[in-house]
């Protein structure tokens, strides 16, 4: 093995650069200088070779002319301000145009060179080929975007699932759906409209910029989404104007420019719609439409469950024969009405009635006819009371009416109407005289005394017996003191 012999400096010229000019020209990175406002004044061979352009085509040009359009935007809005403020930029990723070829991905460092007074004179820039890194990074970036996009979707649906699941009313569920939709679609406004018995869609939560209610028969995006059973998207005001001229013109007076509608349909039965509004023109891709569908599907499941629960609650609190409030619900409601009366210093009344002559109908015409009579009388009583009164069946042929915010005169009028409608003949029991013995217990919080629900039932029951004892088909009124 031999060791290279030592040589004097003069004997190894190949190890030295011939000149700094050559170093500049053929450095393993692109180099260029511009004036402070970006005109190229010097460029090295390496950069010209990379981008395949002649020197004369670069000198005197703007540095931005060398960039592809995405990089130009970035250069003007980001690179330039930072360079001017900080005096340098480091490792900025840009793309250089190459005639007839794909842009060259580069990393760029620039320094702002100032004169003695601090005024900018030149910008010196070094350019590094980052094609290899860029290719790898591009894959990473695409993977990251895809991951973020599906992660965002999963997150939206998970959040929605837990928010929807903890909603116990239609309104709370509507609010959760509005919140999920605003979050998922970056919507400026959103609303849930629910269909009611009178064929109207009415805002249940969120805000609709134009209407609180929309008739189901109207020609509107909301109703068409239900009719067509699909998500409708309107990226611009013009799209809306074309399809719904009147609605489009009205929306043009607001700050909203785009809209989506997702129908909420449960096993063919329309529940309502989710609408979202956007403050600028938007594009809605398949993923966003699918996300609308997924959110709507989740919400519909919970709306369905809530309706089922409501039906069960209805069953538990109502009399199966007449559909009136049952004893449990009556006690609940009486407690509530008493508390309200005491808090607001108002009066209330409890009406208790027992049918006279009903036993004969049951004994002679059978229970089925008796049931029909009870249903008929229930319907009559509900029609005879005021909207705020609560009619219930206490058991057998006993009925109760709770009258909120009611003084003696009003209570007597209600009791008298009840007595009158019960004594009218019932077709299936023609020839049988049925009447009502009615007891009314009055309570007024103005007197300052408190009273329990039990006491009120007791008083009304006693008053009812008084009516029975003194000849039936009459009203007896007592005061709780």
């Amino acid at each position: 093995m031999t060791t290279p012999a030592a040589r004097s400096d003069g004997e190894r010229p190949a190890a030295r650069e011939d000149s700094f000019e050559e170093l500049y020209a053929t450095a393993p990175c692109g180099l260029l200088s511009t004036t402070s406002d970006g005109v190229v004044v010097t460029v090295n061979d390496t950069l010209l070779r990379w981008i395949g352009v002649a020197r004369d085509d670069v000198l005197g040009q703007q540095f931005t002319d060398l960039l592809d359009s995405g990089s130009q935007l970035f250069y003007e809005t980001r690179y330039q301000p930072v360079l001017q403020l900080k005096g340098e930029v480091r490792e900025v990723a840009l793309a250089l145009r190459r005639p007839g070829r794909d842009p060259l991905a580069v990393l760029v460092n620039s320094d702002l060179v100032t004169d003695a007074t601090g005024s900018p004179v030149h910008v010196r820039t070094a350019v590094f080929d980052s094609t290899a890194r860029k290719g790898y990074e591009r894959e990473l970036l695409l993977a990251q975007r895809a991951a973020e996009s599906s992660e965002a979707r999963v997150r939206v649906l998970q959040d929605a699932s837990s928010a929807f699941g903890s909603s116990s009313t239609d309104r709370a569920l509507s609010r959760a759906l509005v919140s999920s939709a605003r979050d998922a679609f970056a919507a400026a406004a959103a609303a849930v409209l629910l269909a009611d018995d009178s064929d109207m869609l009415t805002v249940s939560a969120g805000s609709h910029p134009l209407d609180q209610s929309v008739p189901l028969g109207a020609a509107r995006p909301e109703t068409d989404a239900i009719r067509r059973s699909e998500v409708l998207t309107f990226p611009t005001l013009d799209d809306l104007r074309a399809a719904y001229p009147e609605f489009g013109e009205r929306l043009a007076t607001t700050r909203y420019e785009a809209m989506t509608v997702a129908p909420l349909i449960n096993e063919g039965h329309p529940l309502g719609v989710l609408v979202a509004f956007f403050g600028r023109r938007r594009t809605f891709d398949d993923r966003e439409v699918e996300l609308h569908e997924a959110l709507a599907r989740q919400a519909v499941q919970v709306f369905g469950r809530l309706r089922l629960q409501n039906e069960l609650v209805q069953l538990a609190l109502h009399d199966q024969l007449t559909g009136l409030a049952n004893r449990t619900l009556l006690h609940e409601q009486l407690d509530r009405v008493l508390v309200t009366a005491q808090r607001n210093l108002r009066a209330m009344a409890l009406i208790f009635l027992d049918l006279d002559g009903f036993k004969a109908v049951n004994d002679n015409l059978g229970h089925a006819t008796g049931d029909t009579v009870l249903r008929t009388l229930s319907t009559r009583m509900e029609a005879a009371v005021r909207r705020s009164d609560i009619v219930g069946r206490y058991g057998g042929d006993e009925f109760v009416i709770i009258c909120e915010d009611t003084d003696e005169d009003a209570a007597r009028r209600v009791a008298e109407r009840i007595r009158a409608v019960v004594s009218e003949s019932v077709e299936v029991a023609a020839g049988y005289a049925i009447s009502a013995s009615v007891g009314v217990a009055l309570y007024s919080a103005v007197l300052g005394t408190a009273v329990t629900a039990e006491r009120m039932f007791h008083l009304a029951d006693d008053a009812m017996y008084e009516s029975k004892r003194s000849g039936k088909d009459r009203v007896t009124v007592v005061r709780a003191t």
């Binding site: 130009q72 980001r78 330039q80 301000p81 840009l94 600028r280």
Partner: protein, 269 residues
């Protein structure tokens, strides 16, 4: 002071300086930077004007927790912020100097509440960056996609993915941003959304409603807001004045601050 006062001023990192007796001048920065981009102009204005600087939510030292994607999905959300700042400080006869995308934010704000404004100075405005039928905005959808790629390459790509890991603080990426760019700090995720909102909005029909005296300041060679766009803005805003700065690029407030100041002073004189 109500709680709301603190929130708005904190949210937008509002700074009030200059002549307390002077006419109020609100300086609104555009996409890609923060209130720092007025740094070279402020010294020439603060003797005369009561200067109000602020950061758009997502930029500078704004409160990132205030970023509501729905609100800021259009320029209306940013216009709301401008009006709230003016309300909190109770300013009238305001000169709004608005750069780039903030020019349209200013137009929306002035149209909604003209009684607050005395003059609009729009620096490099564009109501619509994308080309459209009969309109040349200067960009295609592919260009905007390219910008989003460039943003991702610079913030959300390699460096932004790695920097929080290196710093051991992946939960707070804003710390990493502070290291990589202490100037014109912007939150990368918000910047991406702001870029979409900025470059995909169309505010052409808002121009004709402007009733505030308006100066359009156009750079002679501006790729972002070309001369034809500046002329369009000038033609659409009734009674507006247009002045062309002999300046290259889109940020004359940094490249030629004295000329911008002079044009503003001439216009307001």
């Amino acid at each position: 002071m109500t709680a709301g006062t603190v929130d708005v001023l904190r949210r937008n990192n509002v700074q009030v300086l200059g002549n307390p007796e002077g006419r109020p001048m609100l300086l609104a920065h555009g996409f890609g930077c923060s209130q720092e981009m007025w740094r070279l102009m402020v010294p020439h204005l603060e003797d005369t004007y009561r200067i109000v600087l602020f950061d758009q939510v997502g930029a500078g030292d704004s409160d990132l927790r205030a970023y509501d994607r729905g609100k800021y999905d259009s320029l209306h959300g940013y216009a709301d912020d401008v009006l709230e700042i003016l309300d909190e400080l109770d300013l009238t006869d305001v000169v709004l100097v608005a750069h780039s995308v903030s020019a349209m934010v200013g137009v929306l704000a002035a149209n909604r509440r003209p009684e607050r404004f005395g003059a609009l100075v729009l620096v490099g405005p564009s109501p619509r960056y994308l080309n459209d039928t009969g309109y040349v905005g200067g960009f295609t959808q592919a260009d905007i996609d390219g910008l989003l790629d460039a943003l991702d390459s610079n913030y959300l790509g390699w460096s932004a993915t790695m920097a929080p890991v290196i710093m051991g603080n992946a939960e707070r990426p804003e710390l990493a941003m502070e290291l990589t760019a202490s100037f014109c700090r912007i939150d990368p995720t918000i910047a991406r959304h702001f870029a979409r909102v900025t470059f995909l909005s169309d505010n052409r029909r808002d121009l004709s409603a402007v009733r505030t005296p308006t100066l359009v300041l156009q750079c002679s060679e501006d790729l972002i807001a070309p001369m034809t766009v500046g002329q369009y803005v000038h033609q659409q805003i009734p009674g507006s004045t247009m002045r062309v700065l002999n300046a290259r690029g889109h940020v004359p407030n940094l490249s030629d601050p004295l000329s911008v100041v002079r044009e503003i002073q001439d216009f307001l004189a």
